[in-house]
């Protein structure tokens, strides 16, 4: 009972905290709205995302029976944006979740076992040297363009930074007295790592997970745009941009709407990430900027 009430008060405390961070709140609202629209609205509209209508090609918005117009095959841009949104959001969510989990495990283990650390961090250094997009592009070139391949590639590419962040946080927590106390009590390594150190890494993880989410959406779009992502005819924001670019003189709406929605989603995610960081660390002693800021340290003198 006490557990329930205390968690209730925690939720209320968090909710009232949110209002102090307008950017965070706005970002969250935009994201939830986007997710609702992408997942719920398709249930109520009859337009198909893949049905072609050759008599009705390049219909501008608000004409030809489609709110956002049609593309070069007469497919509804609205239905495609929503369908593509489901793909993008699911890919982003999957990548953020998987990269977070594997990043936590790898980061914690390497913070705790020095030998493993040497090996894992050398590998991470090597992987960090390869630009993320290229790593993902190469992976999906080898495995063939599929949503699953894409998620795997992006997860591999995103895990390394998460692992680094968790590792450096965990190394700091490890030195604190309460961990020594647990060790004296003969708690197992596993228990110390996952029960006592891991909860202290939540702030770092939550902030970076948002950036991974945003990044996954962008990279998915870029890869699909390059033809190494979600294969047509299934819509994704990236391959819609590609189609829109090919038809750029026939209608601005074909690339315009997906571009707009990618921009809105990623800006919202960045706002959530920035807001969460401010919330966890109101003093602002922490580096500004994104992951490079985190890697660079406060004055950027080392990384």
């Amino acid at each position: 009972m006490t557990a329930i009430t205390s968690s209730f008060f925690q939720v209320r405390a968090t909710a009232s905290k949110l209002t102090k961070y307008p950017a965070l709140l706005a970002g969250l609202i935009i994201l939830i709205a986007a997710a609702l629209i992408c997942f719920v609205v398709p249930l109520f509209i009859t337009e198909s995302s893949t049905a072609m209508d050759m008599r009705n090609r390049f219909a501008p918005p608000l004409s030809g029976g489609s709110l956002l117009g049609t593309d070069e095959y007469g497919r509804s841009v609205l239905a495609r944006v929503l369908e593509g949104g489901r793909t993008s959001l699911l890919v982003g969510m999957a990548v953020a979740t998987l990269a977070t989990i594997s990043g936590i495990v790898i980061g914690l283990l390497s913070a705790y076992y020095p030998l493993l650390d040497q090996i894992l961090m050398r590998i991470a250094d090597g992987l960090l040297a390869i630009p993320r997009m290229l790593l993902a592009a190469a992976w999906s070139a080898a495995r063939g363009p599929l949503a699953v391949t894409l998620v795997t590639a992006l997860t591999i590419a995103s895990t390394r930074v998460m692992a680094r962040l968790v590792r450096s946080r965990a190394r700091a927590v490890k030195e604190e007295a309460f961990i020594d106390a647990r060790r004296v009590q003969r708690a197992s390594d596993f228990r110390i790592l996952f029960r006592h150190i891991a909860p202290n890494c939540v702030s770092v993880v939550a902030v970076h997970a948002c950036f991974i989410f945003a990044d996954a959406i962008i990279t998915e779009a870029a890869l699909s745009f390059l033809g190494a992502g979600v294969p047509p005819p299934a819509p994704s924001w990236g391959n819609m941009l590609y189609d829109g670019k090919a038809a750029i003189f026939n209608g601005w709406w074909i690339a315009g709407f997906p571009a707009l929605i990618v921009a809105i989603t990623t800006i919202a995610l960045t706002m959530v990430g920035d807001g969460l960081r401010d919330m966890f660390d109101p003093k602002g002693q922490r580096p500004r900027g994104n992951l490079w800021g985190l890697l660079l340290g406060r004055r950027g003198t080392k990384w």
Binding site: A129, L134, L135, F225, N290, G300
Partner: protein, 319 residues
């Protein structure tokens, strides 16, 4: 300084080793037989066997790796399967436009971010500061290809001021060359500027709070003089490091932006090689890009060590 350089060089070995393994494995990640995948469905059995022989795909994996890395070290990245010429030559042909775009974008990024970052740090909390952070937020969230598409739509298609896509070499005349490069460099440069604005601002804020700046102020120097001549010199070091560190995103950004604007550079080569399953070219492109990224970082690190003795002393521990 020599021991610092040696340490940095030694640190590169494991990095390059991991990179080479990953790049080498690309071809082996294909589902099924790589030779068959490369040749496509219509290939005869002899062709497949012949290609397997040529790529020594029948050897054990580590033998293949040793053979491959041996050739790579000598500068032989293999033959483009599709184009029939050496990978190094193929990439060399495409390098010009990509480098032009990347350098142009970097210049645009610096021209935007340094004055804006300094101004934001001089008047924190002002409207200007908020504006700079707004630019930074938008640039941070928008990928360059998206900004490029939007610019192409508005400036190229709707207004018709600049060409929507294409590339003209310098030999076609300077103005033609620049005209076609304006939109791509701006779209890539603004995105690169996003992070640099933040770093410049943060670094300038730190520096402006230091004692020697207060001394300069006490001497009665103008704020302008203090900001640009005294503080900026110290604040520029982190900016320099970030320029090096974001080189990777500059290059990948350039590769994607090329596709938006149909610039015949390395990016288009990579895209068409992915479509053609021309693995030697894919491997070569990734290897060379990564290598240049690693080298740029090494150079910025060394310059940093040269400029700031604390860095190299700190790295070599107690002395």
């Amino acid at each position: 300084m020599i021991s610092y350089i040696a340490k940095r060089l030694l640190g590169l070995i494991p990095v390059l080793f991991v990179v080479s393994i990953v790049v080498f494995l690309i071809i082996h990640l294909t589902p099924g037989d790589p030779a068959r995948v490369m040749l496509g469905d219509e290939a005869t059995e002899e062709q497949v066997l012949e290609l397997q022989e040529r790529l020594s795909l029948n050897e054990p994996l580590w033998t293949q790796y040793v053979l491959w890395i041996g050739r790579v070290v000598q500068g032989d990245l293999g033959q483009s399967f599709f184009l029939g010429t050496g990978v190094v030559d193929v990439i060399g042909e495409r390098l010009g436009p990509t480098v032009t775009l990347a350098v142009g974008a970097l210049i645009v990024a610096l021209l935007i971010s340094i004055p804006l970052g300094i101004a934001a740090a001089r008047w924190p909390g002002s409207l200007l500061d908020a504006g700079a952070l707004g630019v930074s937020l938008i640039g941070m969230a928008l990928p360059s290809f998206l900004l490029g598409l939007m610019l192409a739509l508005v400036v190229g298609v709707q207004l018709g001021w600049l060409p929507v896509a294409g590339y003209r070499p310098l030999s076609a005349g300077l103005w033609q060359h620049v005209r076609y490069l304006i939109l791509p460099t701006i779209s890539l440069g603004v995105v690169q500027a996003a992070l640099l604005i933040r770093i410049t601002r943060a670094s300038m804020l730190d520096t402006l709070g230091m004692d020697y700046v207060r001394l300069a102020r006490a001497k009665g120097l103008s704020e302008r003089m203090i900001a640009y001549r005294h503080a900026f010199r110290n604040a520029v070091l982190p900016v320099m490091t970030v320029v090096g560190a974001t080189f990777g995103s500059l290059v990948t950004g350039a590769l994607v932006t090329e596709t938006v604007f149909n610039i015949p550079g390395v990016g288009q080569l990579l895209v068409s090689s992915i479509a053609r399953r021309d693995y030697a070219v894919i491997q070569g492109t990734i290897l060379l890009t990564t290598l240049s990224y690693v080298l740029i970082n090494l150079i910025t690190d060394l310059l940093y060590g040269l400029a700031d003795p604390r860095v190299r002393l700190g790295n070599s521990g107690a002395r």
